[in-house]
Amino acid sequence: MADATFSDDFTDPAIAAERRRRNVIFAARIAVAAALIIAWEALSPNLDHLVFSSPSDIAARSWEWIKDGTLLLNLLVTAEEILLGYAAGAIAAILLGLVLGSYPTVAAVFDPILMAIYGVPKIAFGPLFIVWFGINLTPKVVICGVTVFFFIFLATYEGVRNVDRELLRTIRLMGATRHQERALVMIPGAMPAILLGLKLAIPEALVGAIVGELIVSNKGIGYLIEYSASQLDSAGVFAGLFMLMILAVIANSAVNYATRKTGRDVE
């Protein structure tokens, strides 16, 4: 956006001060994280190793998994579950959100049913999905998809309902068909809300996939955590958790990047 209100003039003292402040925050974050890790390492000989492990053991376990391919194999399994579940859930959610958002009567019929399902913690569906879909990829994709679905569906639905009625009336009088109303007004009007829903659903997709893996699995990061715990290998549990964190950070940055790219056109 070429706008006079935005400037990156380095000579401006106010901007220089703001940059310094941001650098300080960044450095402080690194320092805090380093301090926590050092303190953890220093204290670990005096702590119950089974409960707390130690950063060096966790690093060693992670390195071992990286070297022998365990990490990559399980990471890919989890990533596949997340990607498929997220894509399926998002597509279904956006379509249903657009339809129910534009037909209030249909929405009124389905509202209590959807809210009833929404209210149930998705983990409770796990056993049912395993009975239905077996123990491999599918039940995890489905749990992930269902979790993601509600976030994106609710965002889309609200987005469509909040589209300015006056815009719809105006183009209806110009002779727009239902389909044109949707393409020209509803979808672009609801786009900021849909993008927000897509963003908020990312960590939920992770939750869905890992929950599925924790219930039953023989591959994936959730499986690594579960398996390590059953072997009383707390370093392995922590290593798995850190990998999840990294996965979450990557997924969030990807969505942030995508919303920044598209946000300009729709905002």
Partner: protein, 277 residues
């Protein structure tokens, strides 16, 4: 443009040789339900708008102006009586009329030119011709240099002009305007009135103009329908026999204008008293 002649029955002006009224409200009533209680918004309203006439609808807020407007546009159906457009009852959104309200309703994600082209492309006018006509219209409202701007990059007055251009670009026979200049400052309002008048003089369209600004109603219209406070009833219909073409600013200082203003003011005053008393 042919000479305007007085129409004796209602005192309205109409074009020579014009046929049936363009818009007719025939004993129209409309009510709403709120918490299970019915309240009447419009009560037994009879009114006609002749082909090519500029008719203003004035009255206090809550007098059902917008409800009447919506029944003509086809967004609401009368609960009793009939709203007729060109002799036919309005049963669905009245496609093809020009429509403008207080909100400009420009699509915020489309450039001005794309907004103004929209009614044309919906009517399957070829893109090239649509673009030319839209550019021409933008030029007529003084926005030629801003075709590629997004609405939010423009001032409120420019957005109004763009909305005006979009309403006029497909040359609708009838214009419905619901307080189109309701939320702009007085200078801009006068300027927009002036532009509307000069555009209207070019091609006399049938206009229904809802406003609560009495001076605006007199300055622009051929006839003013005064509504009472809720439930909305027709209090009076006043003919504005001021010469055309008019300058909506200069005309305010004419004695005839002020005479009509005084009469209108008294009518609205008593419309209020009836309700208070």
């Amino acid at each position: 443009m042919s000479e305007l002649e007085a129409w004796p029955k209602t005192g309205a002006v109409r074009r020579a040789g014009a046929s049936a009224p363009s818009i007719r409200l025939d004993h129209v009533s409309k009510w709403f339900f709120k918490n299970g209680k019915r309240f009447v918004a419009v009560d037994d309203v009879n009114a006609e708008v002749e082909d090519g006439a500029f008719v203003a609808l004035v009255g206090p807020s809550g007098c059902g102006k917008t409800t009447i407007f919506n029944m003509i546009a086809g967004f609401a159906r009368p609960d009793r009586g009939e709203a007729l457009y060109k002799g036919r009852p309005v049963l669905a959104p009245n496609i093809g009329i020009g429509y403008m309200t207080q909100k400009d309703a420009l699509l915020p994600w489309r450039s001005l030119i794309a907004n103004v082209m929209l009614p044309l492309s919906l009517q399957k006018v070829p893109a090239r011709e649509a673009r030319e006509r839209a550019l021409d219209m933008l030029q007529r409202v003084g926005l030629k240099g801003f075709a590629e701007h997004l609405p939010r990059e423009l001032s409120g007055g420019m957005q109004k002009r763009a909305a005006l251009a979009r309403m006029l670009v497909f040359n609708p026979e009838t214009l419905l305007m619901d307080e189109p200049f309701g939320n702009v400052d007085i200078q801009l309002k006068l300027q927009l009135q002036r532009e509307l008048m000069s555009l209207w003089e070019h091609a006399r369209k049938t206009v229904v103009f809802v406003t609560h600004d009495l001076e605006e109603a007199i300055a622009l219209s051929d006839r003013i329908i005064v509504l009472s406070r809720r439930p909305g009833r027709v209090k009076a219909a006043i003919t504005v026999d001021l010469p055309r073409p008019r300058d909506p600013v200069a005309i305010r200082f004419e004695a005839a204008f002020q005479e009509i203003h005084r009469r209108l003011w008294e009518l609205c005053d008593t419309a209020q008293e009836d309700e208070d008393g």
